[in-house]
Symmetry: C2
């Protein structure tokens, strides 16, 4: 039975102001609209009110008020999600955590750091600069670390360092009753009870609000080298990646861009890379370890016709290279000004990657819509981007059809419907295929048990 | 309200036989006694009946029968747990999975393998021998992989390869209704829904029965070298470890044994190591990477007075060395024939490790009971072993008192009450201190939602 949500009236708004301040509670249309949309193609749903919190305690007090009145709550970081995660499907209060941007404590001796949820990954690495440590997870967007934990984000460095799943040590969470929970101790391992940390990582605000994140840190590698190498065909590029992974070479980044995406990148970032299926690499380690990896990778690449490595050892050159890669989404959109994008996101076991990507490329070639392929291919994770004209219904329908084919193909190949973008409300329909009805029912039972009134980001991940 | 459990009568036993076979259902006293006890000091509680299953389907049918009659179910692997995990506190059916010992599929191309839950870690590595791959998690005992997943086990290799938490890719689970669930796809990463895999890893049979495990595999390192090195003091040995970890050196194993433990090991394994606080190391990698690590570690060790490295490069020498380490528990027990052991297990952030261990040593020195210290110190995880005379109540009381002090100290230091042994029923009392009442209530709500009749290994992790 769906929850009967409460009404947001002036007295409720006054109470929000009382819990924070007048300046931090807003019902302005522009701000609400901005908070009801992410970077995806999904329809916007504005919340009724946006509140900017400054502490876990404030979040807890707002949640308690909302719980009492049965008002939906949508947590908001930087709004860079891609499956409608922040859409206020049932209205309610958007809790914007971006002003909770304090690094609470860095502990170089323990290789960890605790931050407020609104600290972005770039701000964290800026803060850490003089410690010799860094936080590697890099989804491209300068997302908040709370948001990245909530969506189990990953990105280009995951092939070596893992995703948020592997790098969140502990969380402070406000549960749907407005109580504050610490999901685990700071010890590196533990066998104490159910794994609440991993339950909250990827729960997209549906079980509570992450207000603080304790993350693993890594020593900045003594040597970092990046390279770009074109390949004669998409198949050879992907097979090169598969071999590299199967050989266990600890590459830090290994990214694929197809020919069309390289064209877009050249246009957008004013570069002149060869327009061919291309791999971007990065190697981390001691000088001798990096040299060893580079030799192995060059030798594998040669077997697949990849010979023109362009190297970048200096920070500045590497930044240029990775900026070009990170802007791939915007570059592909810029091919058709005024268009919006549908970004697919699938992940398969590495042995199936060539088949998955080549069939996807065929789908694109057979469609009237243009699309590009990019991928964190070392993890078996790849995206397509379809730019569609928002005034042309046929184009959006075609983009959705192609997106569905990509997901279904991944599921047949023992893969997942989302490698890193998450479920939001855009991919809920695929969870039953992926987990079966009994698996999905476990997820529903957890949601019902932990949030019986369904106030936490309702309508995402599981429908009650 | 506690569940009113059903009664096990002849008709129920007949139904169990019908689901399996006469030979695989037993009510013999000896077999029941053996299945109601683990390797710990906790009191034995025999189940009413033991059933040996051969497939996920059989497990599901047994669970459906038990669910219908509200009969408690206790899963059993090899019985090597240490906190009373297999004690049938409310009687019921013990499902022994040890005959589910088939490797279902190894996929070297994907660096993963799927096994039935009863396959032990040694049997798996034996099976993998010709593939060039191995599974690194090594808790000492030759435990079943289902049991290791259930208890979130780790051991000596975790400092480099992580624990079961990091190495289980997916599980097949029979839920408390007798339905079969696959917790995730085989893709290396996923952002699809709640993380059921991690919810089941470490759930100790209280949310369902793990029947199949898909694990990550690693290439056998080109070079492996082990070493043993004594130190002038416990403090210097531990500080050497802390520095090594803080420098980010990817040692595969780094184990501490205190002087008393070294004495016990010498006696038990007929060796003649120096009786001093000692570190056991292992290094994995390419020849140049191993050489680099060895040089770094030797140089750090020197700073802490560790100079007498004894090296072991050949498989046979390494096996002897690690067998001595793995038998530490039995060696300490053998110092007092006829005694049983209380093994403590705590884990703290690495920066607090020296303080934690030195205070523990003081506790031991101040006690009338003898104790030894061993530890997977690279992770901040350490154990003490107290051998007590089962006919002397004072000794057991003292061992429990010391154990409690170790746990409380770890919690004050932002550590955990159990690094790897798990909760069972022996450590339930510490979970509220570690997670707070609100955190513990989340665990209870999950248990109630997923197992409303409390039939799955009742009385473990959380009390309902």
């Amino acid at each position: 039975m769906p929850t009967q949500y409460g009404t947001i009236d002036q007295s409720f708004l006054d109470q929000l102001v009382e819990l924070t301040s007048k300046e931090r509670v807003s019902t302005s249309q522009a701000l609400r609209d901005q908070h009801g949309t992410d970077e995806s193609y999904h329809e916007a749903f504005a919340p009724d009110v946006v509140i900017f919190t400054h502490s876990t305690k404030e979040v807890a007090s707002v949640v308690r008020l909302c719980a009492e009145k049965k008002i939906p709550i949508i947590p908001y970081g930087t709004g860079t999600s891609l499956e409608g995660h922040v859409a206020a499907l049932h209205g309610g209060v958007c809790i914007d955590l971006s002003q909770m941007n304090e690094v609470i404590k860095a502990r170089p001796q323990d290789l960890d750091v605790t931050v407020q949820a609104g600290v972005t990954r770039k701000a964290l690495n800026e803060y850490l600069r003089d410690t010799g440590l860094f936080f590697p997870i890099d989804p491209g967007a300068d997302a908040s670390l709370g948001g990245m934990a909530s969506t189990r984000a990953s990105g280009t460095n995951a092939v070596r360092y893992g995703t948020m799943r592997e790098n969140v040590l502990s969380l402070t969470v406000v549960n749907p009753k407005g109580e504050v929970i610490r999901t685990s101790s700071r010890s590196k391992k533990s066998a104490a009870g159910y794994d609440l940390t991993h339950l909250y990582v990827g729960s997209e605000g549906t079980l509570g609000i992450i207000t603080e994140v304790t993350l693993r840190l890594y020593g900045i590698p003594e040597k970092v080298t990046a390279a770009v190498c074109p390949f004669p065909s998409l198949e050879e590029a992907v097979n090169m990646v598969i071999t590299t992974i199967q050989c266990g070479i600890p590459v830090a980044r290994i990214e694929l861009l197809d020919d069309r995406q390289m064209y877009a990148v050249n246009q957008y970032s004013k570069l002149n890379y060869e327009v061919a299926p291309t791999l971007f690499f990065e190697f981390h380690g001691s000088p001798s370890a990096v040299d060893e990896q580079v030799e192995q990778v060059k030798s594998i690449a040669e077997d697949f016709g990849g010979e023109n490595f362009q190297w970048a050892s200096q920070q500045e050159e590497r930044d240029r290279l990775w900026n070009a890669r990170h802007n791939a989404y915007y570059a592909a959109l810029a091919l058709r000004p005024g268009c919006r994008g549908v970004s697919s996101d699938a992940c398969v076991p590495i042995s199936r990657l060539a088949e998955a990507i080549l069939e996807t490329k065929k789908d694109i070639e057979a469609s009237f819509l243009e699309g590009t392929i990019v991928g964190h291919v070392g993890d078996g994770n790849y995206h397509t981007l379809f730019a569609f004209d928002p005034n042309d219904e046929k184009e959006l329908a075609e983009a959705k059809r192609l997106n569905a084919r990509i997901v279904e193909r991944a599921l047949v190949m023992e893969g997942t419907c989302t490698g890193e973008h998450g479920v939001g409300h855009g991919k809920m329909k695929y969870l039953e295929d992926e987990f079966g009805e009994a698996g999905l029912e476990i997820m529903r039972s957890i949601k019902r048990a932990m949030d019986p009134d369904n106030i936490m980001n309702p309508g995402k991940i599981v429908a009650l």
